[in-house]
Symmetry: C2
Subunit: 418 residues, 2 copies
């Protein structure tokens, strides 16, 4: 007898997380012998806790196909870490209660490091509680910091966006530097790992072109060295472009964005490594500066998604179902790189116990000796990940993004409060 | 006998100003009987003052064609206002000296309001000085604030970029609002006119979808009304997305970004209406917020340029040459809208004396009565301008943007200092 599946999106969304959802749902529809309905959690795991399930079976094949083209989390995602066994495990028990009520035998959790851990625990707890569930993690994170997998679905698209944006901004600044802005700073995501910062470096196609300086969270902030390099770069090339991680920190691990900047109300300044660096450049070097903070624009930029990333996102969703119906439990599909030039990849598999809570930072050999740029080895790693375009359909000048019906499943358990 | 032409880019560059350059150069190459060489100013008008001319004849037809696909200013642009007759007119005299030395009979100036004025004065001064030059202004400004012309080349592309980016960010925020960010603010350009802010409003396809609030420079800032609207929107829809002009100002015309915010060093906070609004939302409403400042990314985003805008940018460059060889002086090609649905336009012509130094703001009827959004009339005006895609060619995952040889012309006059 087939059993139902539960799929949820977790943590920060990406331009292509919905492609993984499409992979899961379309693959499940091909495995009717094993999988009955696919329920999605409304607002991620909260949907399971609150028994707020969405019946994806009510969506047309065309709507599910259109998920490939649509950024954000189509069912809602959540930043919510389940309270563990040390807190009594009540939330896990509640999950199992809801899963039991809806005959859910498969748990697909689409997220990053934290959610890999949650996924593992669901599998363990369900076994302990005598209602075994096959739990498969579907990798997703713009931060590219999951271990074992060669890269993380979601990263390639943000990388393509920041590299393209930096390349365009550099042409702008370069062409006006004679009488206008001399220093341009683009702040990008990646609080602990510098992968996205590294990707801005791809915009430099020849020595001397911007970006000239990259500021990684892995390299301790050094104000003096930074200012000296900016000054030297402006002298030599007429302008300086900088890609900076939001997670820039000093040798003691203290974030620059927490360095005590206050606004006029006396409130700590909200985020913004870029304006801080710009202020420094202005005051110490007296150079005209401009800065940009791409924020959510970068991780939702489906219009400039990487085709490679899109295909991999779909593939891990599909593979998760195929692993599950084979009875593989507590695993995660991975991307395995067979070769860089030409780029060849396939889907592999990792044990969740090897994945959960491990963070993959930039290796030292991907960062130049002076700490301010990426090496050729890094370029070789990154380039295939941003390759290929996958423009969404457009209508009246704007992308056609699908909005699902997200029909609720009738509740079977009582109300629950955390 | 043919005479040479001088072309210069002026002021802030756009995603498509180089398409106008291509229009000028390709049209000139078809009018060999009237136009000999086309010289471009290196760094705009500075190139003329310093006799730093670029021979565009050294560029291949393929390179000139590729200008259509390349953002920024291919010859360099300048923020430089010529000192007028009241300052002795020495700079205008110098221009004429250089033009005489290089047998320049045509002046094509590609810019906004200020440069339209400069272009007019060049024509007047050259006549006064007995060396008449035909001066034609080629319109360009992301601000969309030139009079007479229905729209300004450069605007449609930034409009398409901000509308697309807002639409994508809204899908992101909406899908995570349950447990994460409730208020998102995107700051866009347009210091005096709210056209770009208006374009972010196109991302709202149905009532209730973001962006919910637009903050125009034309509508005096009202903190209380803004906070009340944010709170109400979050209550009703679970989140609130805001498009805000960098030029937001109070009833007295004082910019919000000059409102005395200081950083920890005691320096005035640099730009950033978005972080200021976010800080306000956080402190007054205790709502989690995020903000983005697109800055140069928006005006250089050739990868998501509007095909309409691209075609119009090329068309005004080509038309400028055609007007000039017909002997029309002190004029500017304009975009004339024949109909909105279906969209039909043609190139018209305006007298520079009617254009120079006039600023076209958003008409009141384009803004809703409450001041917080755009009307259907505004949508009808804006939609055709962002319609159509014109993706650049890509290589290794990034746009292929051309860099010209920009070969210098041998100098014929002595050194000059301002």
């Amino acid at each position: 007898m087939p059993r139902n599946a539960f799929y949820a999106q977790s943590g920060g969304v990406t331009a292509v997380i919905n492609a993984s959802a499409a992979g899961v749902i379309e693959a499940a529809r091909k495995h009717r012998k094993h999988i009955g309905k696919v329920y999605a959690g409304r607002n991620g795991i909260l949907g399971a806790l609150q028994e707020d399930l969405i019946d994806t079976g009510k969506e047309s094949p065309a709507a599910i196909r259109a998920l490939r083209n649509t950024p954000g989390g189509a069912f809602g995602s959540a930043r919510y870490k389940l309270k563990g066994v040390e807190k009594g495990g009540r939330e896990y028990e509640r999950l199992i209660e809801v899963f039991k009520a809806h005959d859910i035998g498969y748990f697909f959790y689409n997220g990053g490091n934290d959610s890999a851990d949650t996924c593992l625990k669901v599998s363990q707890m369900s076994a302990t509680m005598g209602y075994p569930i096959i739990a498969v993690h579907v990798p997703k994170t713009v931060d590219n910091d999951l271990p074992i997998t060669d890269c993380c679905p979601g990263f390639g698209s943000v990388a393509k966006y920041v590299a393209t944006s930096m390349m365009e901004a550099v042409l702008d600044v370069e062409s006006m530097a004679k009488t206008s802005t001399k220093v341009f700073i683009l702040e990008v995501m990646g609080r602990h790992a510098g992968w996205i910062t590294a990707a801005t470096g791809l915009a430099q196609r020849k020595p001397g072109q911007g970006p000239h300086i990259l500021l990684f969270p892995e390299v301790p902030w050094n104000e003096e060295a930074f200012l000296a390099r900016v000054e030297e770069t402006v002298k030599r090339y007429g302008y300086c472009a900088v890609g900076a991680s939001e997670g820039l920190q000093d040798a003691g691990g203290k974030f620059l964005s927490e360095s005590g900047l206050k606004d006029a109300f006396g409130h700590a300044q909200l985020g913004g490594v870029a304006p801080m660096l710009a202020s420094l450049v202005q005051s110490k070097l007296k150079l005209k500066q401009h800065w940009a903070v791409a924020d959510y624009l970068q991780r939702s930029a489906r219009h400039i998604a990487s085709r490679t990333d899109l295909e991999q996102s779909y593939a891990v969703g599909k593979a998760a179902v195929e692993l599950a119906v084979k009875g593989m439990n507590s695993v995660m599909p991975t991307i395995v790189r067979a070769s860089s030039r030409p780029y060849r990849w396939k889907v592999g598999v990792a044990k969740l116990s090897d994945v959960a809570n491990v963070e993959k930072k930039m290796p030292r050999e991907f960062i130049t000796a002076d700490g301010f740029h990426i090496t050729d080895k890094c370029r070789k790693y990154l380039t295939p990940l941003i390759s290929g375009e996958a423009f969404p359909p457009f209508e009246d000048g704007l992308p056609q993004y699908v909005r699902l019906k997200n029909a609720a499943v009738r509740k079977k358990t009582g109300a629950w409060s955390p």
